[in-house]
């Protein structure tokens, strides 16, 4: 059968899976491991946090992430200004010996919406530091373009607020972003269920990043498989050229030759 795969290039990397999966909120590391495996993802996002110096946890997440299988993508989750995000990005690079980051500069703890100004500043500086920056942003086409202009390797507009599970709220904005982008657009945040991934890919996105949608589903492993299929479905449908929408009716069976016709 025809081979429809087309790898996604991001800076020095190339991936066959276009699903990027986070590692937060799983009940156990084992469940996380099983869900990541089920999702078929090749890129896994992780966060950088202070080591608990005296109340050490027994187990470290890195023991549960096979780096021969997954490319780890450190993020700057929880940073509320450019400086913290830059420091966190550089610590992530040092820690994982990897030159890229999923940059988040958030505006406040309540909505977790991205701060456009801090995001732009941090992107510019990290690019100058030589890093491959995948940058989380709102769905504003103007900021998306600015982030591309200052050197982001991928712009990652939110489908909806982090953890909101609402899917693509403004397809119009995503379409405008895609129409004008010269870098891969990866839809990030707000995915609630499988069809949200399919819809994002059908719009023309190059990938989708999600975490809560899988990790907080009742059955994360099953949802991970769903997301994997949803990604394939959306990517293929986007390339297959869908039929147009009409008010009604085109017969799928010929009208000729009916008995009594």
């Amino acid at each position: 059968m025809a081979n429809f795969s087309e790898p996604l290039k991001l800076g020095p990397y190339e991936f066959n899976s276009r699903l990027f999966v986070g590692t937060g909120k799983y009940e156990t590391f084992e469940l996380m491991q099983e869900a990541l495996e089920a999702s078929g993802c090749e890129v896994v996002t992780v966060a950088v946090r202070r080591e608990r110096l005296y109340d050490k946890q027994e187990r470290n997440i890195l023991d549960f992430l096979d780096r021969s299988k997954y490319t780890l993508l450190p993020n700057t989750a929880g940073c509320f200004n450019a400086e913290d995000a830059i420091r966190t990005a550089l610590l992530g690079r040092e820690l994982l010996d990897i030159e890229w980051v999923k940059l988040e500069v958030l505006a406040d703890t309540k909505t977790l919406l991205p701060d456009p100004l801090g995001t732009l500043e941090a992107t510019e500086k990290l690019v100058k530091e030589g890093m491959t920056v995948l940058v989380y942003t709102n769905d504003d086409p103007v900021m998306a373009k600015r982030l591309e202009e200052v050197g982001a390797t991928s712009v990652m507009p939110a489908a909806a607020p982090i953890g909101s599970g609402q899917g693509v709220l403004n397809a119009n904005n995503i379409k405008i972003i895609l129409e004008r982008a010269n870098v891969p657009i990866i839809v990030d945040a707000g995915v609630g269920t499988a069809s949200d991934v399919t819809v994002a890919m059908e719009l023309g996105a190059e990938g989708v990043l999600l975490n809560t949608g899988i990790a907080s589903a009742k059955d994360p492993v099953r949802m991970a498989v769903a997301m994997k299929h949803a990604m394939e479905a959306g990517r293929l449908a986007a390339k297959a050229g869908r039929i147009p929408r009409k008010l009604y009716a085109t017969a799928s069976t010929t009208m000729e030759g009916r008995i009594n016709a």
Binding site: G24, V46, A47, N60, I61, N75, E83, R87, L95
Partner: protein, 66 residues
Amino acid sequence: MINIMLNGEPQELSEGIDVSKLLQDLKITVPCAVEMNKKVVPKALHSATIISDGDVIEIVTIVGGG
């Protein structure tokens, strides 16, 4: 003795200790990265980097995140 900030908490330390020694004393075995006064201290320089009074040190590791 010197006084430093370690992961946001005040801490007393003997003089002349380097970053490698600090990590050893703290019995940190998981992969970590170290920042001193808002600059990353690359692993290769841990032994050569002596901690001074007033230094602000962050030791970070990887956790789950999205």
